[in-house]
Symmetry: D2
Subunit: 141 residues, 4 copies
């Protein structure tokens, strides 16, 4: 698993958007990856909450890397499509995006994701859920 | 329509994520809004293309503002959910996100979106399509 | 809860499509509903498996009725939209569709669904997962 | 194209669910397929409209067959996933499901679909829109 963790860290560090948003890779295990996004003023929509696009970006990456833990070593993963429901306003000190593999095939991996908002005042709440289709592609093709 | 354009510009300018990504509001008409995202190194995924999350962020905002052109004046629009298909790698000099209203009800507005990539070498290509559900919410609730 | 179960049974029995497909309501609890669809030759796609549309029909109803267990008494539930991933061919003796409420708001309820295929030869397998948006509508409007 | 039409007719006739619902294949061209579903009492949900599942079944098949017009000759098409928005109650004498290819790759084809309801009293109305991911699979694998 350490080599998978290394591959995912290297790939995550190459995703400039994650640095732009301030997101950090915090957990990698077989079939599950967590990405943490601290709230920042640079991420808001017009009401001061985190923008749906910022929330979606981190849970897409979490699902993609969860899929990568199941992909053949000489393959990358790309997002074919995803769908996200926003369950409540993305209000909180930080957002934890959790991506999990539901089924991993030779070509297609289906993942589900959740984004949990945490704050000092209240228990963590799920602000978004994702259902995503990822595809393995051979590296350098 | 000028007051709608004004409302949308004000709201867009209050979406800090749009400035963080470098996106600009370029067109507003009844039922249709365009947002332009120039490619930047800060937006990439691990292969150097624009990250699916950046592409999704601008087309979500384009759909949301298209919905807002149809909403009652004392209402805002929030994203209930959306689904995006990524048709090819998001490669290009700039990305034009087009959001259009399909049906606008009292509470729910359904939009479709497209993101066109343009470059110097080739015709513009659609890199992503969205189908989104937006909801009108009374302001200050 | 007994009155909710009664309302759901009455509504299910009024859904002629469920009888056409041969589906049966088998479980109702707060926030969760199960519908069973025995395999039949009348439900197939071209390879002899259950058609994606038949699988979708029962899990849509399961999600809708799960949402109804959380709706105000004078309201009905309609499907705003849903998304389904098909994880493997729908092969089995019978299919159990499970709909669960993730969050129930005043107007919008978000549900997730699964369809489990069972056969004599193997353990049950999840053949489809759904993420659905349901809306409460006042009865007789 | 005549051989494609023949392949699609043969496959459609092998989809028993289409006969169970009363659906007919009415148009095939490169990248676009139409399926007609006359309203019937056997298709209803609890308010007497056509059930979302019946509407979804025909537009899924229309999208799948549209994808098949673009698939290599020795391949079949399966539904990876789809998402449907229901724009208004499915009320009408008949429903015309139109599936169109947006992009066809070697493995993955992305389609959009619409279902138009027609009645004697009013112009036809779009009652549902779909965004679907189809996959080419080699026959007999």
């Amino acid at each position: 698993m350490s080599s998978v963790r290394g591959r995912i860290e290297a790939s995550f560090n190459a995703q400039a958007l994650m640095a732009t948003l301030g997101a950090r890779l915090v957990h990698v295990e077989e079939g599950e990856v967590h990405i943490l996004l601290p709230f920042a003023d640079s991420l808001t929509q017009q009401h001061g909450y985190a923008h749906a696009g910022a929330i979606t970006s981190v849970v897409d990456s979490a699902c993609g890397y969860a899929a990568l833990t199941k992909a053949p070593v000489d393959h990358e993963v790309v997002s074919v499509e995803f769908k996200v429901n926003f369950l409540r306003p993305a209000l909180g000190r930080q957002f934890l995006a959790i991506g999990k593999v539901r089924t991993a095939g030779r070509l297609i991996t289906v993942c589900t994701g959740e984004v949990h908002a945490t704050s000092e005042e209240a228990d963590s709440k799920v602000v978004a859920i994702m259902q995503a289709t990822m595809m393995n592609v051979r590296r350098d093709t």
